[in-house]
């Protein structure tokens, strides 16, 4: 059997230990409902912030759209499970699933096709993708409505809690995928903008999503979302187990991606776009990849969040809140997964937990004075964030050993030339042109 590296063992063991300890505390009732919610919220924030760290910390794209994708994921997943528990119908799940699969397929096919066209500008590409996705979505809706009764029958044949778990897991997947596909379409034209303009555009997305959710029952026609009154009746099935599992998966996916050549390509875009292009890195492609993946994480986070409280309100997805993950990753250290993980939990536990409880009545609002001050102090004292670029041993890049022969391969005549007198190398110049040319420099 292959030997497991020590770092990996410690990391997996540590994760299991943290999970077990928290689970025991929750099961025995030492952590009451309030604190258990806080802990799960911490995991959700960590997932969303890790996604943003991929976009901003590793890829260098300043995005304020994370909260928009978080909202999209939350409402998508909520709609799926709401319809299952309250209407006994898998309509939401089947329709969204078929729409997502169809348009995903269209996007993948079009990417293959369009990559052959030279000099296609971003807006035309966007138009083509948009029309294709729209068409496929309509096809997906029809197909979904058609096969829903069959899926209903299949799911009701299963025990209730198994069916619920299946629907729940698919809803989380769909939350992520819907966010990913929307971010792909949105990113096509917007990612061509420079970094600051990209930030403004993504802030726009967050506001659009919030306004649409405020009017989801009238403008969008989803009556169960109840617009600005808030969506209730979502099953509260996001246990610590699921929240932790998804957080763990996100960490693993991100870690493995960043340690591969694709991750290095993503980071190279942050480091120097022009140099990356000159080295054969398709910068647009890797910006899209990071943005889509980061937004997908936000969608997954939102989907889990929807099932914690069982209640969603558009105000939760206010654009002011969209700065939360941004502040978390800056506090924790841009480009540090460890920093993001720790800061997310601390942020939630302190702001939503400790301060809410221990501040005297009527002083809760002071939290929003406290945290900007903390942020200011951190930025002044530790400009690279609390963790800088520190990573846990398993998340850290390890330097591979020198595989190649250690003996340097140097040209053989190197030493000879060094000993040659200078004149023998500079060509005999009758006009002294070379000398005088240098003098003019």
């Amino acid at each position: 059997m292959k030997k497991i590296p020590r770092d990996k063992l410690i990391f997996f063991g540590g994760a299991l230990l943290i999970f077990a300890v928290v689970q025991i505390l929750i099961s025995t009732g030492i952590l009451n409902d309030f604190w258990s919610t806080i802990i799960r919220l911490g995991a959700v924030y960590a997932i969303a912030s890790l996604g943003l760290n991929l976009i901003y910390g590793f890829n260098g794209q300043f995005s304020l759209g994370q909260w928009g994708f978080y909202a999209i994921g939350a409402y998508t997943a909520a709609d799926v499970t709401y319809r299952w528990t309250n209407q006994g119908s898998a309509l939401g799940m089947v329709v969204i699933l078929s729409v997502v699969l169809f348009s995903g397929l269209a996007i993948l096919l079009l990417r293959k096709l369009l990559s052959r066209i030279r000099g296609l500008d971003a807006l035309s590409a966007f138009a083509i993708y948009f029309i294709a996705v729209l068409g496929m979505s309509i096809a997906g809706i029809y197909l979904g409505v058609m096969i829903t009764p069959a899926v209903n029958g299949l799911l009701s044949a299963l025990p209730a809690n198994v069916a619920m778990t299946i629907v729940y897991l698919i809803s989380i997947l769909l939350g992520g995928l819907v966010a990913a596909e929307i971010s792909f379409l949105f990113g096509l034209p917007v990612l061509t903008l420079g970094s600051d303009y990209f930030g403004i555009a993504t802030l726009g997305l967050t506001i659009i999503v919030k306004v649409l959710l405020d009017n989801s029952d009238t403008l969008l026609g989803f009556e169960e979302m109840k617009g600005a009154r808030g969506m209730i009746g979502i099953p509260k099935v996001s246990t610590w187990f699921w929240a932790f599992l998804f957080l763990f998966l996100v960490v693993l996916i991100m870690r493995n991606l960043l340690h591969s050549s694709y991750g290095r390509a993503i980071v190279s875009v942050r480091e120097d776009e022009i140099a990356a292009k000159a080295m054969g890195i398709d910068v647009g492609n890797y910006k899209t990849l990071a943005f889509v993946l980061g937004s997908m994480f936000a969608g997954v986070g939102g989907a889990i969040y929807a099932h914690i409280n069982g209640f969603l309100h558009p105000n939760t997805f206010n654009f002011i809140k969209s700065f939360d993950p941004m502040i978390i990753i800056v506090l924790g250290g841009l480009g540090s997964m460890t920093g993001t993980l720790v800061t997310s939990f601390v942020w939630i536990i302190v702001l939503e937990g400790l301060l809410r409880i221990y501040l005297p009545n009527g002083f809760e609002t002071w939290r929003y004075v406290a945290y900007p001050i903390i942020l200011l102090l951190v930025m002044l004292l530790r400009p690279k964030g609390l963790f800088g670029d520190y990573e846990l041993p398993y998340l850290r890049q390890v330097l591979p050993p020198m595989y190649a022969s250690h003996k340097p391969i140097v040209p053989e005549n190197l030493i000879e030339i060094e000993t040659l007198p200078e004149e023998s190398l500079s060509p005999s110049s009758p006009t002294k042109a070379s000398g005088s040319q240098e003098a003019t420099k």
């Binding site: 030279r118 000099g119 493995n256 991606l257 340690h259 591969s260 050549s261 694709y262 991750g263 290095r264 390509a265 980071v267 190279s268 480091e271 120097d272 022009i274 140099a275 990356a276 292009k277 000159a278 080295m279 054969g280 890195i281 398709d282 910068v283 990849l289 670029d389 890049q397 330097l399 591979p400 020198m402 595989y403 190649a404 022969s405 250690h406 003996k407 340097p408 391969i409 140097v410 040209p411 005549n413 190197l414 030339i417 060094e418 200078e422 190398l425 500079s426 060509p427 110049s429 009758p430 006009t431 002294k432 042109a433 070379s434 000398g435 005088s436 040319q437 240098e438 003019t440 420099k441």
Partner: protein, 279 residues
């Protein structure tokens, strides 16, 4: 003056530029630029500051889209392609002001350039399967060889921005080579180097040309380097080619001397030369 390139034994041109024009608003930065590179050539491109040398590089590598003209790589039109596509087709470059990935290690700098030859998909990377392990090891091995060539093998874990200047220059060339080019464009590789380092560099350029079977075009201000290693030199001034020839021909070319030293300088330098010969 012979403005045509020597065409040795009808060999196939590797890189060819025809009538390149670059217009920035009212400024014609490059006008009617022609260039032919044959496999294994080592050509130089010189000229006073602002002559348009780097603009030519930027057009060849796709940073700028030429206003007019055509660039062919192995008889395939590459005009107007994206920089990354041109790199993947086989043209790599270095930059006048070093452009490394400053916060990454020396090894990662080179590994990024090798990315297009990584040979595994993104999902292999995420799953970290066997295929990934084997290919990643191979990739690392290959890139470490490049570090070896440039005598950077002890520096592979160093952060690139902390390297001394000369090593940063070498790392940039190593990185360009890792993208497996056929043509290498060096933009002032010897800038800021002392004579000793310049000699090393000249040697290195000769060496990599043999070892990686490269065709090299370089911009350089240090005449010692250009005259010492280039077989053919093209001189530009105000966006136009004013001379082309061997180093010897260039040194005695009147237009070149006047471009560098001002009108009348050629006659003056001719006088000096006679005087020296008489002595």
């Amino acid at each position: 003056m012979n403005l045509e390139n020597p065409s040795p034994n009808g060999r196939q041109q590797i890189l060819e530029a025809e009538g390149l024009v670059m217009q920035f608003g009212g400024l014609r930065a490059v006008n009617n630029f022609n260039l032919s590179l044959y496999p294994h050539d080592l050509q130089g491109l010189i000229g006073p500051n602002g002559a348009g040398k780097t603009t030519v590089f930027n057009m060849i590598t796709g940073v700028y889209n030429p206003t007019a003209g055509q660039i062919n790589l192995l008889e395939e039109d590459i005009t107007g392609l994206q920089p990354y596509e041109i790199n993947q087709l086989g043209i790599a470059r270095t930059f006048q002001n070093i452009r490394l990935f400053p916060n990454l290690t020396v090894l990662d700098n080179v590994r990024i350039a090798y990315h297009t030859h990584a040979g595994y998909g993104m999902f292999d990377g995420i799953l970290q399967n066997k295929h990934f392990g084997a290919k990643e090891k191979e990739l690392t091995q290959r890139t470490q060889e490049f570090l070896n060539v440039f005598n950077l093998q002890d520096r592979q874990g160093e952060i690139a921005k902390n390297l001394p200047y000369g090593e940063q220059r070498r790392l940039e060339i190593a990185r360009a080579l890792a993208s497996n080019p056929k043509v290498l464009l060096l933009d002032e590789p010897a800038a800021g180097m002392n004579p000793q380092e310049s000699f090393h560099l000249m040697d290195l350029i000769h060496f990599i040309r043999e070892r990686f079977d490269l065709t090299i075009l370089l911009i350089e201000h240090q005449m010692r380097v250009v005259m010492g290693i280039c077989e053919t030199i093209t001189v530009m001034d105000f966006g136009e080619i004013i001379a082309r020839g061997t180093p010897k021909e260039i040194q005695t070319n009147e237009k070149v001397i006047e471009a560098y030293l001002g009108p009348g300088a050629a006659a003056l330098s001719e006088k000096f030369r006679r005087k020296k010969e008489n002595q």
